[in-house]
Amino acid sequence: MSATTYGWLVLAFPLAGTVVISLLYRRLPGRTAGWIGTAAIGLSFLASVGALLALLDHPHEERQLVSSLYDYASTAGVDGQLSILIDPLSVFMMLVVSGVSALIHLYSVSYLASDRGYSRFFAYLNFFVFSMLLLVEAGNFLMLIVGWAFVGAASYLLISFWYRRTTATGAGIKAFVINVIGDVGLVLGTYFIFKHVGTLDFLATFERVPDEFSTNQGDLVAGCVLLLVGAFAKSAQIPLHTWLPDAMEGPTPVSALIHAATMVTAGVYLIARMHPLFEQAPAAADVGAVVGCLTLIVAATIGLAATDLKRVIAYSTMSQIGYMIMGVSAGAYAAGLFHLMTHAFFKALLFMAAGSLIGAMAGVQSLDRMSGFRRAMPFTFGCFVIGGLALAGVPPFSGFFSKDEILLLVGERGGWHWILYVVGYIGAFLTAVYTFRMIFRAFLGEPVDEARELEQGHVHHADVPRNPANDEEEDTDVGFPGPEHHIAERAGEMRGAMAVLAVGAVVAGVLQVPGTTHVIESFLEPTFAESRLFEAETSTGLTVLGLVLGTVLGLGGIAVAYRLWVQRPDAPARIRERLSAPYRLFANKWYFDELYDAAIVRPGAALGRFAQETFERVFVDRALIGGATGIVRAGSSAVRSAQTGFLRYYAALLLLGLTGLALYFLLVS
């Protein structure tokens, strides 16, 4: 089979899974729906591998294959085709997305086993993966926009999966609204580019861009900045990031899926895919690099102060995506995508371990309530540490190589990129601190009651299940998280998925060891063949400096965390008191939510109230509707006196009229 056939199969399996599960959900007994969903994504991953092998058979220059099913719209200069583009970049993304998603599905088979919405969950999950695969395989802007919007819709469905929680539905709406802002940016950006190149097809567009646009031409910069708006909204970059921490309301596998494989990586992919545009508009690319850098440091500082286990990981995602956006915007395409892959492994692993831990805590997510789970959950602890070491960038774990390569290439750009380089390393240090703060607080120290209960062989159950976000009591029988909690130590599927990811998080770094291997870079080379920034020369001095600096900062961060949260447990409180102003800033997430509330939400609500209470009541009801009825009423009261109700009076009028008419015609003639 050809690579494109495999490409279509990659899309077909998750779609089929969605359809089958959603049509048969009443008849699927037990965990069947979960296994169907997992099998669909697993087959999709196998098809991705098939696409990879088929693509590798092609010579280097012919590794960009387009396949079109049919012309969707072909009118007035628009050439919307149902086409996919199979090239190294899309195959790379397909492998990451379907591979990690398959493991997350496997994990969910156990994790959600007692939930009432089990089949619904897998139908949504398959749809989510399908949307993301559509996004990365799209061969033109039209398909990209469709996939982009599908991902937003699927994320809404999954974030508000426990729809009886008002906090969950609110978070879903927030994510959807912010994503729609991104969709609008993407569509408008496409318009600016389409206006000049006259085609929606990616390859044709990229071919024409150097001829159609001069460097930094206004329309191109505008188009690219609008594309960046789309990327920022999907990838949770400042200022469109506020939905991501709230998205933690979804079930933990959903968080893993959003953060590792699908959704937030879409922005990184978009910038990498559009690299010919961004290289022609360096001003827009600089915007991306600066915003990525800003996000990575802001998110890292918030991660230091957050107390919700899942939110700490969420902010670490924001921060890591900041590295990737900064990397691909600054021309470090292979490094950014490499980090995307390693991040997918260790972030999915961290979320799965967190899910297991939350299961042991019977739904409680606050770090303040956790302590000493090390002995009770050795497997989860091991996975958490592996994921944490990879996230903190400690050699030889995968995150070390990918993060340092981004920073190395950013540093090589010189000039003001040095600021990004330095901030990146500060962020790396903070990452190590907050990651191990989380691990030390949850696993070391005196075991809490839940941990002791587990050590005696019993998973804790809350007396009254409560929503961790607002402490509302909830009914576990009707769509809330199910009554039973599942932990990795007791569920083979969860352990299997986590073990595979743990191996990936440890060894994936060997694909790109500086100066030794460059598997990903040489594989992606055909996609970036025309790029000026790809495969930039790196000096040995800076490489060595980066490796040393990365190691020292990673280990130093862990040491600081150990000293603060293990050796001297009273130290954090004192630091909090002494640095109360920055602490409040970080703990309140830099007041972004409050800012948006004051600047957008409240004026919007006030405008809505004005429209309803004043405009509608006074202008529409009284002036427009009241005026129209008033005119009719006045007119009718003027003529109603003619209606006497006397038949003979009407007859006489009729006669008089007729006579008048007859006389008139007689006189005229």
């Binding site: 006196s641 209606q643 109700g645 006397f646 038949l647 003979r648 006669l655």
Partner: protein, 99 residues
């Protein structure tokens, strides 16, 4: 023969009918007077038809007769309904449509 006489008779009958419709209060008589007016019209139509030597007027007259038959049916039906519901048989009393 001059057409004038026929038209004069027609006009005379029409005026009788019209006066009856306007002045009488019994619906039955109003209906009779309406018939007078219609037949006066028919007479004029036939006279003109004769004058022009074509059949058009006669066909008009036939159609008027059909309409008149329908009208009488409905009118009489209304009057019967009035009797049945013991309403006053007086068109001046039946003035609920006053504006």
């Amino acid at each position: 023969m001059a057409i004038g006489w026929y038209l004069a008779v027609s006009a005379f009958i029409f005026c009788i009918g019209a006066a009856g419709v306007v002045t009488r209060r019994n619906p039955l008589v109003v209906l009779l007077c309406l018939e007078l007016m219609l037949n006066a019209g028919n007479l004029a139509l036939i006279a003109f038809s004769r004058m022009h030597g074509t059949g058009d007027g006669q066909i008009f007259a036939l159609i008027v007769m059909v309409v008149a038959a329908c009208e009488v049916t409905i009118g009489l039906g209304l009057i019967v309904a009035l009797y049945r519901r013991r309403l006053p048989i007086d068109v001046d009393e039946l003035s609920e449509l006053r504006g």
